[in-house]
């Protein structure tokens, strides 16, 4: 029998707010345990939540970008369960009236993934095992960090589709400024619901839920493992048990969590501490109008308006900051293709050499635009320009000052070049003879000699021209 894998995703994304969802503690990553906490996010008795307005804005923005219907009225509910990472013993989430529903994401290749819903909720804390005591320590710094959970319909049929969706989601949310989507810091996490069924069957099989998937690699491998496990069970005539399974990165396998943890009756009910969220048409229109241009639109535009090759547009839009840098560069008068080349070559190279992220880069578009202009004007040759770039990259130094200080300006004085050319021709009669005998290689040698005399600061074009003239 041939089997089909059916997958639905629940993705948790941490929102890029400054403060937590229900209190004013910072959401900054890291920090010593329990130092980004207050009585509210630690669930102290008598404390009450107050909603961060930015959370609503970012959730709605994400909902709009994922083509969801935004709920005119939405509310918060309590999800009740005991665990030490949840100090109130309930998570404030949305069950009955989530903020957005019924969206769709085009993942390419003619495939669309339907979004079932998108809702706001608070993150839980972190539990750290103390091996010495063999006990667990609770760190509530992440507790109350705002999340959106994006739930898809079971529309995926392969790990590849899942990854394509996640990449699209990540790119979109980063462009929107909704989240930094750093998987290594847990700001994008995935639960995978998976079942298998015979190809052609319309019914869904029994599914399992896999948690703890924190990288694309883990997701792909877990999907492959779990699909194989379920198929083997069914082929042996056994049945799949509906349960939550944990992916063990080290063992490359999923295993069932204790049944106790599986007993789930969350007793959701509307949170009496939080009034509802009602969004006016004007508010939605305002957010819609201020949605930033997404990567796919930028790519299309770069190709159509500036004739950039697809490869270049992919590279440049791979990070929103790079794309913005690029657009600023072009706006300063830089030729788009020239700008793209510099970004793909030198900018990305320097970022990686310094272990920096594009968003942390100090270099301004104006600095690079100036450098490119100097090359274009023939005042700096390209190799020198690359050296200047490397020198000014980290601190966004002054290009003109650097060039002047180091005497790097290109020699475009044809008279000076002529004198040097004459000296070189006189000193290399053999090469001149070779060249006249048809050995073109000798020309390059002569150019090199001239450049050497001029300490590399001559314009190659000028040198070529003068040499050709002199050689007749």
């Amino acid at each position: 029998m041939t089997w089909e894998t059916v997958i639905g995703l629940e993705t948790h994304v941490e929102l890029a707010t400054r403060t937590k969802i229900f209190c004013s503690c910072t959401t900054e990553f890291g920090g010593a345990p329990n130092t980004h906490c207050c009585p509210v996010c630690m669930g102290m008795p008598g404390t009450l939540p107050v909603l961060n307005e930015k959370v609503v804005e970012l959730a709605v923005t994400a909902g709009l970008a994922l083509n969801c219907a935004i709920a005119p009225v939405s509310r918060f509910d309590r999800k009740n369960y005991f665990y030490p990472d949840l100090p109130k013993a309930y998570q404030i989430s949305q069950l009955y009236l989530p903020i957005a529903r019924d969206g769709a994401v085009d993942i390419g290749g003619g495939k669309t993934i339907r979004i079932h819903e998108l809702h706001m909720e608070e993150d839980a804390g972190k539990l750290v095992h103390d091996p010495w005591l063999d006990q667990t320590l609770t760190d509530y710094n992440r507790c109350g960090v705002p999340l959106i959970e994006i739930v898809t319909e079971p529309d995926f049929r392969s790990a590849e589709e899942v990854i394509a969706y996640l990449e699209k989601l990540k790119e979109t949310l980063q462009y929107l400024g909704v989240s930094d989507c750093k998987m290594q810091e847990g700001s994008l996490r995935c639960d995978v619901n998976l079942s298998v069924r015979p190809v052609g069957s319309a019914e869904l099989g029994t599914r399992t839920e896999m948690k703890n998937l924190n990288s694309f690699k883990a997701i792909s491998r877990a999907i492959a493992y779990e699909a194989r496990r379920q198929i083997e069970l069914l082929e042996e005539g056994k049945r799949v048990v509906q349960e939550t399974r944990r992916w063990d990165e080290n063992k490359d396998a999923t295993y069932a969590m204790r049944s106790k943890e599986n007993a789930q009756d969350y007793r959701y009910f509307p949170d009496p501490d939080l009034p509802g969220v009602e969004l006016s048409g004007a508010y939605l229109e305002h957010l819609k109008a201020s949605l930033p241009e997404l990567a796919e639109h930028k790519r299309a535009r770069y190709q159509a308006d500036w004739g950039l090759p697809a490869y270049d547009t992919e590279m440049i839009t791979s990070q929103k900051t790079l794309a913005e840098f690029f657009e600023a560069l072009v706006a300063l008068g830089t030729d788009p293709k020239q700008g793209a080349n510099w970004i793909m070559g030198q900018v990305l190279g320097q970022l990686s050499a310094h272990g920096l992220e594009a968003k942390d880069m100090k270099l301004t578009p104006a600095t690079l635009a100036r450098l490119i202009a100097l090359v274009k004007e023939g005042r700096l040759n390209r190799n020198t320009a690359v050296k200047v770039f490397e020198a000014v990259f980290v601190t966004d130094g002054d290009v003109d000052a650097y060039v002047k200080e180091h005497g790097l300006e290109q020699v475009s004085d044809a008279g000076l070049v002529e004198t040097v050319v004459e000296q070189v021709l006189a000193a290399n009669e053999k090469s001149v003879a070779d060249l006249k005998a048809g050995k073109e290689k000798a020309f390059g040698f002569l150019v090199g000699q001239v450049m050497r005399q001029l300490k590399g600061q001559a314009s190659p074009a000028v040198v070529n021209q003068v040499l050709r003239d002199k050689l007749g």
């Binding site: 008795p45 008598g46 404390t47 009450l48 107050v50 100090p87 309930y90 007793r267 009496p272 501490d273």
Partner: protein, 480 residues
């Protein structure tokens, strides 16, 4: 007249005029506490008086000694909810009302006994032992703010702050012959009140007179950015608005609150109170309020559901008491909660868990929320016709200690006249209106429309201008 027999406003006046010093007032209160506490057990924690508030506290109650129910968080002073599970929990924050009162010059002398987590109608479920009624020490002071009502009745403080989820200010006030007010839901910040049922909880004053209550509410009320359910409405000015003039006011008596189950002496006293209001110019009329039949079940479903969630945070991990002898996390939770909560609290947690659990939510919890809508609509209609409603506070006077705990359902049913007010979010006040043949106090309840707090206080103020039930002290004073 002894100092402790004064109203809070009268003492405030003497403090302002310099006739009595702040130290004398505090010492008088402390002497009363020393004398009364062994008998009535009103306090859980007695503290040293705080340093005087900043000069210029404008409240007419500046310098007047008072105390808080022990479910109101006080920075640096243990706050127990009268439960073993909270142990010596000492908040590092003040409730908003505590901040506001302190800024107005309130002098807190400590924390008051109550039913565990405010769940009870007699203040007997406290882990510190029952509160006893100063009018008859063999009887309950009422609950859950029993300590607050008893302390004011016994002259240990001039006013107290209680909380009222289903009658917990009004019913003990009635049992102890003091005046207690539950303001409109949302007018007093709940920040720092340890939640029992968040959609119903509201703090309010217990004092000798309606005027005292108005003065305290003038300080307590007002929008608080830390409580999302707090209403953005103008606060203050209640005391200044009191005239006692009831001419042209229409007062409704819901017939369904005067029927079966109501003690005859209580009925007579409340009807007599109606006559006093009439004499002040009000018209009084009976009307039918048939939703009364549904208020107790709707109340207990909603209150217990919220409580089951609110009390989940007490798990022995972050604060309070932790059981011993656990092998793993599950046992830590279960042992701590099983041994840390009393029977009534456990009963309500279980009931609340049941009505929210899978398969029963719609039949119970959702049904109760729909019933609440019906109850609110019924009150809205009543207030289209009447300015105020007058009802008994409780079906009987204070019961003997131990009598109520044997039959929980019977105890729940005794809340019938008070819980509807919480469900509908309305302001209501309990005022002394007589004594039964055993000499036990009787209370009458005035209910106003939402945000009609001033009208409620004004009617009670008028009533108290013409009566002196509120000026009587148990057994002539000293021998509490």
């Amino acid at each position: 007249m002894e100092l402790f027999e004064l109203t809070a406003l009268e003492l405030g006046e003497k403090l302002r005029s310099g006739e009595v010093t702040r130290e004398e007032a505090v010492e008088a209160a402390r002497a009363r506490i020393r004398a009364a506490q062994p008998a009535n057990n009103a306090f859980v924690t007695v503290t040293e008086a705080p340093a005087p508030a900043a000069e210029g506290a404008a409240s007419p109650l500046a310098g007047v000694p008072m105390a808080y129910k022990d479910n109101i968080c006080t920075r640096g002073v243990r706050t127990t909810c009268a439960s073993k599970i909270l142990g010596d929990f000492t908040p590092c924050y003040d409730a908003t009302v505590v901040e506001r009162l302190a800024a107005a010059g309130a002098v807190s002398l400590g924390k008051l006994n109550m039913d565990e987590f405010a769940m009870g109608s007699t203040s007997e479920t406290s882990c510190f032992g029952a509160v006893k009624n100063p009018w008859d020490l063999t009887r309950a002071a009422g609950g859950s703010s029993g300590g607050a009502a008893a302390a004011v009745a016994a002259g240990e403080v001039w006013y107290a702050i209680g909380s009222d989820t289903g009658g917990s200010i009004r019913q003990p006030a009635a049992y102890c012959s003091v005046t207690g007010m539950k303001p409109t839901y949302g007018t007093v910040s709940r920040y720092g009140l340890i939640a029992y049922a968040s959609s119903l909880d509201q703090m309010g004053p217990i004092a000798r007179s309606a005027a005292d209550c108005a003065a305290v509410l003038d300080v307590m009320m007002g929008k608080d950015a830390r409580d999302s359910t707090s209403l953005d409405v103008p606060a203050g000015g209640l005391l200044a608005s009191l005239t006692g003039d009831l001419r042209g006011k229409k007062i409704g008596l819901p017939a369904d609150c005067f029927g079966d189950g109501l003690d005859g002496e209580v009925r007579s006293a409340v009807l007599a109170a109606a006559e006093v209001l009439k004499a002040r110019g009000a018209t009084v009329e009976e009307f039918a309020l048939p939703v009364m039949e549904y208020v107790v079940p709707a109340y207990y479903i909603i209150a217990c559901a919220e409580a089951s969630s609110n009390l989940s945070r007490f798990d022995g991990v972050k604060y309070g008491w932790r059981a011993e002898g656990y092998e793993d996390l599950g046992e830590l939770y279960t042992r701590t909660r099983t041994q840390g909560f009393g029977t009534e609290v456990k009963r309500r947690i279980l009931l609340g868990t049941f009505v929210l659990s899978s398969g029963y939510y719609d039949a119970y919890y959702k049904k109760a929320l729909q019933t609440k809508a019906v109850i609110k609509a019924a009150f809205d209609r009543a207030f289209e016709q009447y300015d105020l409603l007058l009802t008994p506070v409780a079906p009987t006077t204070a019961p003997k200690l131990g009598e109520s705990l044997t039959d929980p359902l019977k105890m729940y049913l005794s809340d019938i006249y008070t819980v509807s007010v919480n469900l509908a979010g309305l302001p209501a006040l309990s005022m002394p209106c007589g004594f039964d043949s055993k000499g036990l106090p009787i209370g009458a309840q005035l209910i106003g429309p939402a945000l009609g707090d001033a009208a409620v206080l004004n009617a009670a103020y008028g009533f108290q201008l013409d009566t002196d039930y509120h000026r009587q002290s148990p057994k002539g004073g000293d021998e509490v």
